[in-house]
Symmetry: C2
Subunit: 251 residues, 2 copies
């Protein structure tokens, strides 16, 4: 089953050569994924793309047509390699403007800190025409929203703060709850009866995830479903399965 059962779908676009060169270990996907689950929105795909104009444009245009929400991270700083804002504007066929409120916020912030509001810094005030700002409580330079696309910073602390400002404005779907049954049986032994449970409960997304220990077996059976009573039935069935095969529940 796809989509964690939610009818509201989202895509995440991680923009940045540093992720594709291995310089930076991404942690933004995991954060956004968890928070969307909390709010009943199904993250159904994520893409990591390079800082290339046409790639940013085509990716955003493809995904915004297909999803209720598209979130992007990265490429909205002051340096020459920050090219997300201009390419989001281009993707929408909109003019890139200096957003008056963003300009005001940035000038105020720079003045207070005694730093020059130079051209590079003021690049961070640019948005597509008609965009609304996403507040950045960490370092002021805002993200922005245009239609169903939300453009955020790449630095995790800033991204998270921006994202928390976005979440209350999103339509929330039915919350998909999950249960986790961890046991010491090998997947190869669990697989066939597990599939029978999956077949009995087609509305539940059941996944089997082997742990990373070497000789000790540790398999995590995860079930996801928006309907709590159904989920409880599945949890019972999974526990009975482990018991019937002579396994032990872990944790």
């Amino acid at each position: 089953m796809a989509n964690n059962g939610s009818s509201i779908t989202a895509a995440l676009v991680l923009v940045g050569n540093e992720l594709l060169s291995g310089r930076t270990q991404d942690i933004n996907l995991n954060y956004v994924a968890k928070r969307l689950v909390d709010h009943g929105i199904a993250l159904t795909e994520a893409r990591v793309i390079s800082d290339v104009a046409e790639v940013i444009q085509s990716t955003v245009n493809e995904l915004r047509a297909r999803h209720d929400y598209v979130f992007t991270t990265g490429g909205i700083g002051p340096t020459h390699d920050d090219i997300t804002a201009e390419n989001i504007a281009e993707a929408f066929g909109l003019e890139l403007i200096v957003h008056p409120e963003a300009e005001r916020l940035l000038r105020q912030y720079f003045e207070k800190r005694g730093v020059e509001a130079n051209a590079a810094r003021m690049r961070m005030a640019r948005t597509p025409y008609g965009a609304t700002l996403i507040d950045n409580p960490v370092s002021v330079a805002p993200g922005f929203k245009i239609e169903n696309v939300y453009v955020m910073a790449g630095v995790p602390r800033i991204m998270q703060a921006m994202f928390e400002n976005i979440v209350p404005t999103l339509r929330h779907g039915e919350i998909v709850e999950s249960v986790s049954v961890i046991c010491d049986l090998p997947e190869g032994q669990l697989a066939e009866p597990l599939e029978k449970i999956q077949d009995r409960f087609p509305a539940v997304d059941i996944g089997s995830y082997p742990g990373k220990t070497s000789d000790t077996i540790r398999v995590n059976l995860v079930a996801r479903c928006a309907d709590q009573p159904t989920l409880e039935l599945v949890e019972d069935a999974l526990k009975q399965l482990v018991d019937s095969l002579g396994g032990n529940l872990l944790d």
Copy 2:
């Protein structure tokens, strides 16, 4: 600049609902990214997709047409949610067969460990017709290669072992070297002269990455280029830039 300058490009497809639900923090992208850089292959995109038949098929077909190499991780275990092998076969229009050598290896392994070679376990012997196996020194169940697509396990330790068996078989491009100049100057101050350096050296990919500390400024200027003498010129230029702006080199 895109592609780290290499003319050999690759895409990575991470298959798994557990990444999109936030249950699992991916570390496979970072591993593959670094190792490809080491071998002069440019990872230009990565996708995280759900365990959905048509999504796996369309993603693989789109990417294999565009890249020299496509690597996939996840979905080749024994349980019902492991559907990568059958969908790679479907994507190629090939029959899914029981690979004789994979079957032999698995039967031998199961026999030695005294576990039943049941139908679920033997699912792991299935490959598209004509695939060659990728050795799995960790848990035997092999990955496979069909044309330019390499299908690996999702568990990082197994994925890494499989990937290390693949690497020597790949065409290697010109190695892209990188230098890193870390300083205590804000990006907003560095940006304009940094862009001038980028303009002077268009063959070099210069990125600016602010650190995650809160009040201390720590910006990492990273330059990537296959030509070592050019890279040394850029490193000097970056250090001179930091010095001329009154900053300090860190680390």
